[in-house]
Symmetry: C2
Subunit: 421 residues, 2 copies
């Protein structure tokens, strides 16, 4: 069978399965999730053997140590997959929730019911445990899923998909509720993103190259985020210690994550007070600074700094580098963030009611925080229980996307025979 | 200036304007809406003269009487535009509403704030009062708007845009908050839908050809509905009189609207009881019937009927034609609707608790009703106050789209210095 036919058959099966999973009871979906966990534990040895094949192939093809690490199954991978499945099973089922149900003057009672979207295509790279994370969230939200993992994890993913298929079928769900694309050819992605008849939404998870390719090739709605150029703005009125603690945490708690900051903005009134200590602590943590002229003057006796260019304000370093800019005040900080940021996550540190209110209203990002680290922008920290990713799109889901973002809403109307006049 | 540059300049201006309208106060936006109404009334004579130019051109180019009627300004058009503006001014401002605000264990208070989307492109045909309807909803929801009306209404639209510009500028809003594309060349649409840097969402309003063209050419998110193939299903357990009244209303109250039904489904147990009277009344109303074999047998002594083909189940007649099919029961009715329908609006008439519950859960349409006419699927009837259209998409807005559908939500987080461990 050629790739086109292979993918179309998969799409058709997913559409059929979506009709059954959409009306599956919460109990049945939870049983399936627990069954997948049981199956993974029961097949641990086989999963390790298959994973080893990927590791060998990866080393042969010269994958970096960091990528090999992400690929490898460890005790921690197994506990995390099993715990993840149990957590998703414990989450409240969003399907069928009715909100805003109210009577109209004519006696019609109108509200919105949360429904599955239908078929979700997930395209991801490297870490094979995404197979389990994504499958579990899509299943719990009543969707059929087509998973397309990276070729470097194909043996691991196939083995995991085998566990899923066995568990799903045994618990009585349609076997095509969760399918894995076993073709490792890049053309399979091309076909997947073209099947708008069978796929309702595409979620790409991976590097910018992957996401840009998907966006270029598809007309199916995409839930994604491209960049995480996040900011902390230290307002003139900020508490000094809080400002330093939040800026340090937002930059250094982890580097390679999208909700760490890339640029620090500081109001000029407070800059001489906070920047020297902050720069010292950042330097001690090994962070390289790229600074505006004013910042460089303030820090001239403290440490070496590089000059920030226009490009630095748009750069997602994803590492121990921080751009620093002194601004006259909150207006310029908001303008900077809306101009150079990626509408991901931005924080103000302030004691001013007016500044907090303005920042919250005018910063056009998926998460806007006052007096808290940007590192909290995350489905678990926000209490969603789990996340499929963070969306910087404005339509549908924005910010951390959990079960709710994997559902739609339809209007439901309860009448007693009303006809329109 | 060529069309490309002209459109890019418009997009850039709209993006600039969106930054100001996003933070405009409710009072300022309402003042603008009232100012537009005042301006329209003050320029009534000029508007009539410009409208006459469109009518003359329309008659010369052979537009149908129906289209000329839709184009013509009448007393009713003026009252409807002015009342519409006042109604939108009276609606609650959705921007800034915060929902689901709750404390996390670490003291962070997290919720979602409703925000404008940014820049909305509206592409529409014929009726010039859409210029005012669309502009008012987008303005109230804090968005900048680029309007692209049909060439047949260009003089009327230009005159209306003149009123809008005068009112908007006088009330102190950015002049590019609402812009009209004055190029009547079709290439302008092509440019508009390509400006993903400046336009956040495209709303096409018009015939299927227009909507399909937009979908083909754009990668910008689209809010749209293509077809309205709506159904009434009369369950075995239906109240006979209610069933007949709802079916009649859903078909005959208006023909050329998307929420009228195109197919009637009847459970076989009740078909001999309801179909003869219903067919008689439909015939008296001038409705042509296209029927399945069983229906034809039941009606053989009542009236002439045509045979329904497979194509009839997918057809949107938008006129006095109704397809009728007898089905064994609710399972087949739901399967028919999900297979042949357009996921727009569907009703069950039943006295059965179980049937109502199943229909509501399993019919995958933007509006699902029990014991009420499909004709209620409408922003005004649902209490949204106004609507920009009805969406049959599943992502973002689904069903009638009012002010809320023209907004997005961002996460807002109120902290006291929390950093992530």
């Amino acid at each position: 069978m050629d790739i086109r036919e292979y993918m179309l058959a998969m799409g058709k099966a997913a559409r059929e399965a979506s009709v059954t999973i959409r009306r599956a009871s919460t109990e049945l979906k939870n049983d399936s999730l627990h069954a997948i966990a049981t199956e993974i534990l029961a097949n641990r040895d086989r999963l390790m053997i298959e994973n080893e094949k990927d590791l060998v192939a990866g080393r042969e093809s010269g994958l970096s140590d960091a990528l090999i690490d992400r690929l490898a199954f460890t005790d921690a991978s197994f506990s995390s997959m099993v715990e993840g499945l149990q957590q998703v099973a414990n989450l409240q089922d969003p399907v069928g929730e009715i909100s805003d149900l109210a009577f109209r003057p004519n006696g019609l009672q109108i509200g919105k019911m949360r429904t599955p979207i239908g078929v979700i295509g997930i395209i991801y790279e490297s870490r094979p445990n995404v197979t389990i994370d994504a499958a579990s969230l899509c299943l719990k939200s009543g969707n059929a899923t087509i998973l397309r993992g990276g070729s470097e994890a194909i043996h691991s993913n196939r083995a995991l998909a085998g566990c899923i298929a066995a568990a799903v079928t045994r618990s009585g769900l349609h076997p095509a509720v969760i399918q894995l694309v076993e073709h490792t050819d890049r053309a399979a992605v091309g076909e997947l993103v073209k099947m708008d008849r069978y796929v309702d939404v595409i979620i790409p998870r991976g590097g910018k190259g992957l996401i840009e390719r998907v966006m270029r090739e598809t007309r199916i709605p995409v839930i994604k985020h491209l960049d995480g150029v996040c900011h902390v703005y230290i307002d003139a009125d900020a508490d000094r210690e809080m400002a330093i603690a939040i800026a340090m945490n937002a930059k250094t708690q982890r580097y390679a994550v999208c909700n760490s900051i890339e640029t620090l903005l500081v109001a000029d009134a407070i800059a001489p007070d906070v920047l020297p200590e902050l720069a010292t602590r950042l330097r001690d943590a090994g962070v390289e600074l790229k600074c505006c002229e004013t910042t460089r003057k303030i820090l001239s006796n403290i440490c070496e700094t590089a000059i920030a260019t226009e490009d630095d304000w748009r750069e997602e370093y994803l590492g121990p580098v921080l751009a620093v800019r002194v601004v006259p005040g909150i207006s310029e900080a908001i303008a900077h963030i809306n101009e150079y940021g990626s509408q991901h996550t931005d924080t103000i540190v302030t004691r001013s009611y007016a500044s907090g209110r303005r920042f919250m209203t005018e910063v056009d990002s998926s998460s806007v925080l006052i007096n808290a680290s940007t590192r909290f922008a995350d489905g678990f920290e926000y209490g969603l229980g789990a996340e499929i990713g963070i969306s910087t799109d404005k339509l549908h889901a924005r910010g951390p996307v959990g079960l709710q973002g994997l559902t739609s809403e339809k209007y439901v109307v309860f009448g007693d025979g009303q006809v329109r006049q």
